[in-house]
Symmetry: C2
Subunit: 399 residues, 2 copies
Amino acid sequence: MTIEHHLHPPIAPPRRTLMGPGPSDVAASVLAALGAPTVGHLDPYFLKVMDEVQDMLRTIFHTTNELTLAVSGTGSAGMEACVVNLLEPGDKIVVCTNGVFGARMADVAGRIGAEVVQIHRPFGEVFSVEEVIDVLQKEKPKVLGIVHAETSTGAAQSLKEISEAVHEADALLLVDCVTSLGGMPVKIDEWDIDAAYSGTQKCLSCPPGLSPVTFSSRAVAAMDARKTKVSSWYLDMSMVRSYWGDSRAYHHTAPINMNFGLHQALRLVLEEGMENRYSRHYANHCALKTGLNAIGIEFAVAEDHQLPMLNAVNIPDGVDDAAIRGQLLKRFGIEIGGGLGPLKGKTWRIGLMGESSQSTHVLLFLAALEQCLLHAGYQLSPGAGVAAANDFYRTTITD
Amino acid sequence: MTIEHHLHPPIAPPRRTLMGPGPSDVAASVLAALGAPTVGHLDPYFLKVMDEVQDMLRTIFHTTNELTLAVSGTGSAGMEACVVNLLEPGDKIVVCTNGVFGARMADVAGRIGAEVVQIHRPFGEVFSVEEVIDVLQKEKPKVLGIVHAETSTGAAQSLKEISEAVHEADALLLVDCVTSLGGMPVKIDEWDIDAAYSGTQKCLSCPPGLSPVTFSSRAVAAMDARKTKVSSWYLDMSMVRSYWGDSRAYHHTAPINMNFGLHQALRLVLEEGMENRYSRHYANHCALKTGLNAIGIEFAVAEDHQLPMLNAVNIPDGVDDAAIRGQLLKRFGIEIGGGLGPLKGKTWRIGLMGESSQSTHVLLFLAALEQCLLHAGYQLSPGAGVAAANDFYRTTITD
């Protein structure tokens, strides 16, 4: 018997300009590497690729941590890998929650029987070192978890002083760098971060599917001192690191082609240079902000902690969130993000991440947004946004 | 400061013929789909791709199960997704262990506080329905887990009668179909399997990175009746299914390009037709066996439960396992697998999976193996293996 099945048409994605909270645009050379012929997961060639991925990740994390690799899942798998390896049932974690991803970290920890204490700031705000010192003294946790770049709100958390407070209290510092890595400094060693996870589809501009993680020797010692097995077999770093390390012991089959893609994405980051890349992200953020302000659109986050790669802005009164985002997608192929949680319908999240952090993206977006807003009856001075951004670029960029 | 980094060379994999236990060769059209431009994980186009992946997976699993999708990790993540969603702490699972992957399932379940009872058969053997009935009566588990196609041993487990016994005992049947799906019948509905997981890099011939899973309504009811949260946030099907289902609620960012690749791989399966595909796998297995027997190499598994896609054979006495596999890889680019666990150094595992199940692969492999064996001083009748396989094809294949 032959199975009857109406075949679906082959993959042919529409043309998109990705300016949401991730994924970001992917370079053609990364897509080509992703589509390179598959080899075995223990092939000498693939083992070399794994070594090189680790080496490049260390540079991008600004660390010498031996245990630095790409977890075989998306950013949330990296979060879970860090949480479940650092914590045993009954261990205490303090999570600093000021957005969706802090809350997620608390949820992940609670599921494995950790004692979870959360401190909260409203969405869009960040934590002071005093607040962190207070909770450390009161709770004496094993781990303090905090988000460097809150993708749900656009807020940037400074970490250096908090790290000192955490280590003063003899705790481990776990940091979510999903959105920051590759777009702003993430100085693992200088800031003395014990564990951090990221995603590939933000400022690294590789498709989603892997999660770069890094662990300090202090974190490794804590994991080595565990009395119980890690709750997740798939994410158990004691086995994962044998596969990525010298013993090459088979654990699971790594996503081979995803690692090919990540390898090329990391090459592009290093080819540009870290500082150049941070400057580019910051410049395009400033240009976008100048343009948006010129048409009366304000940022949702205070000036001193705005993320360069994720611009959260207030949707103007009377403007229909879904209608404008729908038009941007339909007429221009531009994707931006809506608000998450309590910010749903109130903010737009405009990503300028990795390959998507370009003056061309900023100018096109301002022009497209103007058209959509005018169409919706919003009052603005036609051309003012693009003119302001152009003026910013003209006066700050020297060829 | 500009970061100094010696750039690694770009991705350029060597030419390989993948005849190990997976990954298998990937069709050019699948690699092309994998490298298609990335779109957002909530893009209407990607949501349509997800629907189509689910639809095609149902056909390939021979099921109408609503909850059928691709977990965002490799096969072991699918195993963990099934185990941790079906079981709560204190729930009892019986695992039938006759290889590495049964043992892994037991490990996964033990980590979340399930009560794990294992019954064992030596590597390479399979379970009788009587053994299963005995353990069910004695243990009265919530779930019985068993491996359909043991990748570590090459043994095929028949399931229909075992399924009847499991349901007679009011338990749920969980089946590992990582290696079988797409290469031999996996009849979820007809055999009344409650939960099953697979991998993409075996007989579906997509690179590793996703794990197709399917759950019966009985399994879904058991998950809905849970009193505790699933131990893994990333793999919690109550949230994952909202993203894949009608509500499209954001959970994690799916590996978008991996799903593009899987979509095309599933299209190729359906284009060929399931029965044609099963026949092809069986025919190439028979041809390989005929050829190997002609040069004195015997299968490690009894005739009545040999897998068509994974041929485990005894390494002849005095032949150096690693040397021969090394030569196959170096001289011919052919990858085959060594033995796992107690079979290390004793068996080779020769995969004929998906795109790798071809007469060209069988003939090339026999020729290459002959050269390597003769080089190593092994006595054989030169040309006998290829001649026997050719004879098999000539007399059984009609154009």
